[in-house]
Amino acid sequence: MRYLLMICTDENAIAAQSPEESAAMLGRYGTWAEEMGSRGVLQGGERLRPTTDATTVQVHDGEVLTTDGPFAETKEQIGGYFVVDCKDLDEAIEVAAKLPAAEHGTIEVRPIWEM
């Protein structure tokens, strides 16, 4: 089964990291991705720019409305995502729990709706 792992963290805290902290964090993601890649679990994923760079788009009566910022103001924001292919939810939970962000943020595990 495929799952989307959404990495929800406080982006202000991430922005406040020192270059050393930032490098250490990226190193841990690298280790995680290496393990999940060799296990055949990892299918893809990206880091996202902060919500200050986000734009929201809606169409009302044929008119495109664009707004600066994310769709909702929340304490934590989606900072990145991975798509993983796991045996079941237990494996997806194990994989999610190994993400560095699980220690200070939240990982939302969503099954992908296969069409």
């Binding site: 089964m1 799952y3 796991c86 045996k87 079941d88 939810l89 237990d90 997806a92 939970i93 595990v109 099954p111």
Partner: protein, 412 residues
């Protein structure tokens, strides 16, 4: 239908419903189909057993009947559809009771671990366990939890949908997850028991029956996990509490405290069984919070009268429990036991410390306990202040009546 056959069907329903549903879920992976086919199998039993006699192994008869029915229905649904592979899988699938890669041979254990998966909310775990394993109807579960039937039906539908869509595995957790997941299963049974235990005599019968269901499922878990001392500890704990049922409420419906209960009303047989289970669990030398709580309950249950309660032992047990479960409520109970064992001043020191920590702010039993201890050391004015604080926080009438009586005593 003869009453003997009636009783056989009713008995089979109580004992075998969970097994029938659990097996059909394993074979088909379809929870709704499993429930429907189990119902069909019981309907067939009502029809056939009076005519053909009660089968020697009713559980096997019902399981086979339900399973065949499921296979039939899937085959019929598969005709002309892409579901053919499902029916093909079914016809070659293993017999009930086969061991899978987890080494578990009983489908009911798979079912209970799946129902109690941490990805489901606690209320959902309880409801799903009662529906699929214990065979209570949706309307019975709704009444027991005081929610509208529609709400409960939706909760069950959502739970089954999540199990399917989120890929919650139908199995007993593997070894590295087992301690944590077993704790979740035990917590569901204890929650179930406490729901029933909190129900008063005036409440709906279904609500009170939750205790009996929790004990029945506890027995099943002990049988299925004979090497798990905490399962035995939990069953012992439930039996020891349930043994006091008849003495807990007086003729006017008022709750009677342990100290003032008529101990001749206690169920001696349940106490003996609880103590025996606890001893068997303790022999494995893998203590846990349920065993310790059962040991505390056993101290009370085996004391001939309130005065001969072994408070030194109980205070020691609460000390062990507090080390295992860092809960402020446990700490408060420990303070009460220490006050009984070593005198009110020792207990008061612990209550003061808890109060300073702020961890029980808003909990009426904190000032109420403090007030009782202050009263016992003769500090009536301070006790009155604490009783008034407790009165402001107490939610139920009977608690308020108790506190007012005490307040009147210290201000007299």
């Amino acid at each position: 239908m003869s009453s003997a056959v009636d009783a056989a069907v009713a008995g089979a329903f109580r004992d075998e419903w969970g097994r029938v549903v659990a097996t059909v879920i394993r074979v088909t992976g379809d929870w709704d189909l499993a429930e429907e086919c189990a119902q069909d199998a019981f309907a067939q039993a009502i029809e056939r057993w009076p005519r053909d006699g009660v089968p020697r192994n009713p559980g096997a008869w019902l399981t086979t009947t339900a399973r065949n029915r499921a296979v039939d229905r899937l085959r019929r649904a598969a005709t002309g559809q892409l579901k053919v592979h499902e029916a093909a899988v079914l016809s070659s699938s293993d017999e009930p009771g086969d061991v899978d890669d987890s080494g578990v041979s009983d489908d009911r254990l798979r079912l209970i671990f799946t129902c109690c998966h941490p990805a489901l909310s606690p209320e959902t775990r309880v409801a799903l366990t009662l529906r699929t394993l214990a065979g209570l109807t949706t309307s019975e579960i709704a009444r027991a939890f005081l929610v509208p039937e529609q709400t409960m039906a939706q909760r069950l539908v959502r739970a089954k949908r999540k199990i399917r869509n989120a890929g919650i595995p139908y199995r007993v957790s593997p070894a590295h997850l087992l301690p944590e997941r077993t704790a979740a299963v035990l917590a569901v049974l204890y929650l179930l028991f406490n729901e029933g235990y909190a129900a008063t005599e005036g409440s709906d019968l279904v609500r009170r029956q939750l205790c009996a269901e929790a004990i029945r499922l506890g027995r099943l878990l002990v049988a299925l996990m004979p090497d798990e001392p905490e399962a035995r500890g939990l069953l012992a704990l439930m039996l020891l509490h349930d043994a006091r049922r008849a003495a807990r409420v007086d003729a006017r419906g008022e709750v009677v405290s342990l100290e003032h209960q008529d101990r001749t009303l206690w169920d001696r047989q349940a106490i003996a069984e609880g103590v025996e289970l606890l001893d068997a669990a303790l022999r494995r030398e893998r203590p846990g919070p349920y065993q310790v709580q059962a040991a505390i309950a056993a101290c009370h249950a085996t004391a001939p009268d309130a005065a001969s309660t072994d408070w030194v032992e109980i205070a020691g047990l609460y000390g062990r429990l507090a080390a295992m479960v860092p809960s402020p409520v446990v700490a408060l109970n420990r303070a009460v036991a220490v006050a009984m064992a070593d005198g009110p001043d020792a207990g008061l020191a612990m209550v003061d410390e808890l109060e300073r920590s702020g961890r029980l702010a808003g909990y009426h039993l904190l000032p109420a306990t403090k007030a009782d201890l202050l009263r016992r050391v003769g500090r009536g004015d301070e006790a009155a202040v604490a009783y008034r604080a407790a009165l402001e926080l107490a939610a139920t009438d009977s608690e308020q009546r108790y506190l007012r009586r005490r307040l009147a005593e210290v201000t007299a």
